[in-house]
């Protein structure tokens, strides 16, 4: 949780929060979950959201998709429009009334809910308990499948090589790269290949890619070059911002390689018909 909660006086010198302890996961799989789809998935990768629902349903969960959901507020927040972000975030807080887990098919958005809402509402102490509870039940999709559902994937697809790209903030805040790797490792026909400077940012960074197109462009050029050189037949990622960036650049370069959301990849590999019904 935010370090901001540690200080008594508002202008007291800040100490870094205590070292994080490994996250404790519920020992029992819950019966019902919320899916927070995120704004980018909603308009650009809706199939990924739907595949996330299918994966969760296959684990025996009842999935709820609150129709009033919108955006976690991250774009405005990272652009410095904190009040706008707060308003949008507050709206999302109304959505998850039951204490079911909130599953998010995008790492950085899950991180926003879990790590940054506390900062965003630091001046509203009456919200703190609620935010802490929300943070505790917010999960990135891969993490939830792996550690809460303890999913056992049966790979049905042909042998292939994939490269995994993980959103930076998600990896640093929630170790999502480990979750993605663990899930891919369950797929017997899938070989995960490393790419050069794998942990380096793809250059998206939300509005960074618009405000600093030259630098962002150089970063995504290097990232796509590394992915193409990796020998992977496709790229998978659990973060749609990065996917939009990487796929947009690959298409511009007229490369054959593309990135796919991890949820869609997992669903297609484990469905028996290779996704032929799509």
């Amino acid at each position: 949780m935010s370090q901001l909660f540690h200080n008594a006086a508002p202008n007291a010198t800040r100490v870094a929060p205590p070292l994080p302890t490994p996250r404790q996961y519920p020992s029992q799989k819950p019966g019902q979950v919320y899916l927070f789809g995120t704004c980018v998935v909603d308009l650009f990768f809706p199939e990924a959201g739907l595949d996330a629902i299918r994966l969760l349903e296959r684990e025996g969960l009842r999935v709820h998709f609150p129709q009033d959901q919108g955006c976690c507020g991250q774009p405005a927040y990272t652009s410095g429009y904190t009040e706008e972000a707060r308003r949008v975030a507050r709206k999302q807080l109304e959505l998850f009334a039951e204490d079911w887990p909130v599953v998010v098919p995008s790492g950085s958005c899950a991180g926003m809910l879990r790590e940054h809402y506390a900062e965003l509402f630091q001046d509203e102490p009456e919200l703190h308990a609620r935010l802490e509870a929300l943070a505790a039940r917010t999960f990135e999709l891969a993490e939830f499948l792996l550690h809460v559902c303890k999913v056992q994937l049966q790979d049905q697809g042909a042998p292939t090589k994939v490269a995994l790209h993980t959103s930076c903030s998600a990896r640093r805040e929630m170790n999502t790269h480990l979750h993605g790797r663990a899930l891919l490792a369950q797929l017997s026909g899938v070989e995960r290949v490393e790419h050069d400077h794998e942990s380096e940012c793809c250059g998206f960074g939300g509005t960074f890619s618009i405000r600093m197109p030259d630098i962002s462009g150089a970063m995504v050029a290097d990232k796509t070059q590394a992915l193409k050189a990796s020998g992977a037949a496709q790229v998978v990622s659990a973060d749609c911002g990065c996917l939009m960036n990487i796929n947009g650049a690959l298409a511009k370069q007229q490369a054959a390689l593309r990135g796919q959301h991890l949820a869609s990849f997992l669903w297609q590999r484990t469905q028996g018909n290779g996704g032929a019904d799509r």
Binding site: G37, R62, Y81, C168, S209
Partner: protein, 481 residues
């Protein structure tokens, strides 16, 4: 070398974006930085092979720096008392002009003609070389990297490795052109050329200038780390030693320097320790045979007290200047240090510079980050650099009439149009009915997406909305379940 050639003549043309574009197009520069940063990252990683030890030490480093800042005024006064007791003259300067005036006064009192400098980023803030040169006093850098960039009328491109943007061939040409020596790309030979030239200067200099890594309040000690020996030379051979440092560099106790030292040298260069740890607690005593007759310390504010005023921004002052944030920064790696156009480049530069020069002088700095978090992850004193960058973006877009005055030059990116766009965005995402309408048309009319979408389509194809939103797909899918 005469004094007028020492004035940095490199012109930093254009704004940040233009300089970045220039740097991105320079293949040699890109290659020099990429390989150097890769090597520095690997060195740090191997120096911290035990992640648990590293994280606990970082937490301690953070705690020590935060503790010092939480009683900064008291520690500064204690430092001054103890240094004064030890025979060191302590001076205070609010601005670089004041700091330069103090240095000049000391120099004039000693009729100094030549100053030799150990590495000091604060003296870069002061542009001391330029200032003294204009007043007829030669001010020569003695750190090999600093010497190289000064010889080429450049500024440092990295706070630890000032000449990292150059390769051996470029240094060879520089030495050949400026020093008249035979062209050689052999690094050992190049260093020996520098050694010979600068030994003369240590010998002749009237004053030695240095920075400070840690100023210990408890004992009145200035601790300096270095590998070359130029720091020891500069602080020992000349009759007068002037140390210049920021007011935040003080630590409470001598023992606090032990973990900080370990964090500093391992984070910076992956070294267990630097060749020299030089602890100076006073000038030459009556019965001693060498060391400076006078030692001065100049404590410089230069905007630090502005950062200090806000508890979030205050964390900027935890910095121990190791450079790890720039070594790990994907932006710095691609554009190098000069593109930032200021003394401190990279992530730490982006968060400290606005306080030194005003946010309006570096309006693009807070935006020049993807907030990937690499800097915060490696910072040995756990400065939450990405959070502070975000905060500076907030200060940057504040309205001019915002009553909450946090920093000089705030609101430099204020744009009524952009603010309106975000208001529209907010309305869209807080009004579900409106969003449903919007997404209905966005998905149905996705085919009308223009192929050119501003800067985005310079490097990407335009993103085309899907045919149905997840809202719709989920509703259909979940209906009746």
């Amino acid at each position: 070398m005469n004094s007028h050639t020492l004035i940095p003549t490199v012109q930093l043309h254009g704004d940040f974006k233009q300089r970045a574009r220039g740097a991105l197009g320079d293949a040699q520069l890109r290659q020099n930085f990429r390989s150097a940063m890769d090597s520095l990252m690997a060195k740090r990683a191997s120096a911290f092979s035990d992640a648990d030890e590293r994280e606990r030490l970082r937490a301690l480093g953070n705690q020590i720096r935060a503790r010092a800042l939480s009683k900064l005024p008291e520690l500064l006064e204690r430092l001054e008392q103890n240094l004064t007791r030890n025979g060191v003259h302590v001076h205070w300067a609010e601005t670089v002009d004041e700091a330069n005036a103090i240095v000049l006064e000391i120099a004039r009192a000693h009729e100094a003609r030549q100053v030799i400098k150990g590495k000091s980023m604060v003296s870069e803030e002061m542009e001391m070389n330029h200032f003294l040169a204009e007043r007829g006093i030669e001010c020569l850098e003695s750190d090999m990297g600093e010497y190289i960039v000064q010889l080429d009328n450049e500024k440092p491109s990295h706070i630890i490795m000032p000449a990292i943007h150059k390769n051996a061939g470029q240094v060879a040409s520089l030495f050949h052109d400026k020093l008249g020596v035979e062209y050689t790309k052999d690094v050992d030979q190049l260093i020996q050329i520098g050694r010979r030239t600068l030994r003369r200067k240590f010998f002749e200099a009237d004053i030695g200038v240095s920075g400070v890594n840690f100023a210990v309040a408890e004992t009145g000690t200035l601790l300096l780390v270095e590998n070359e020996g130029n720091g020891r030379m500069s602080t020992t051979v000349p009759a007068v030693h002037i140390a210049v440092t920021g007011i935040e560099k003080v630590v409470e106790n001598l023992r606090d320097t032990v973990p900080l030292l370990s964090l500093l040298t391992r984070s910076a260069l992956g070294q267990p320790i630097t060749t020299y740890v030089n602890m100076i607690s006073g000038p030459r005593k009556a019965d001693e045979l060498d060391g400076p007759q006078e030692v001065h310390l100049v404590l410089l504010d230069n905007g630090r007290s502005q950062a200090f005023a806000d508890s979030e921004l205050r964390q900027t002052l935890n910095c121990i200047r190791c450079g790890a944030c720039m070594n790990h920064c994907p932006v710095y790696t691609r554009i190098g240090g000069h593109a930032y156009g200021e003394v401190y480049p990279g992530p730490i530069g982006k968060i400290i510079t606005p306080h030194l020069v005003g946010l309006d002088k570096v309006p693009d700095h807070p935006s020049a980050s993807s907030l990937c978090g690499a800097c915060g992850e490696v910072c040995p004193v756990k400065i939450p650099i990405p959070s502070i960058l975000r905060r500076l973006r907030e200060e940057n877009v504040k309205a001019p009439n915002d009553p909450h005055q946090v920093m000089r030059g705030q609101g430099s990116k204020y744009s009524p149009r952009e603010r309106l766009a975000w208001k529209a965005w907010r309305t869209l995402y807080t009004t579900p009915a409106l969003y449903r309408l919007f997404s209905f048309f966005a998905t149905r009319l996705g085919g009308l997406t223009p192929s050119k979408l501003g800067p985005w389509t310079e490097h990407h194809v335009a993103p085309i909305p899907a045919k149905r939103s997840l809202h719709e797909l989920a509703r259909q899918h979940l209906e009746g379940k």
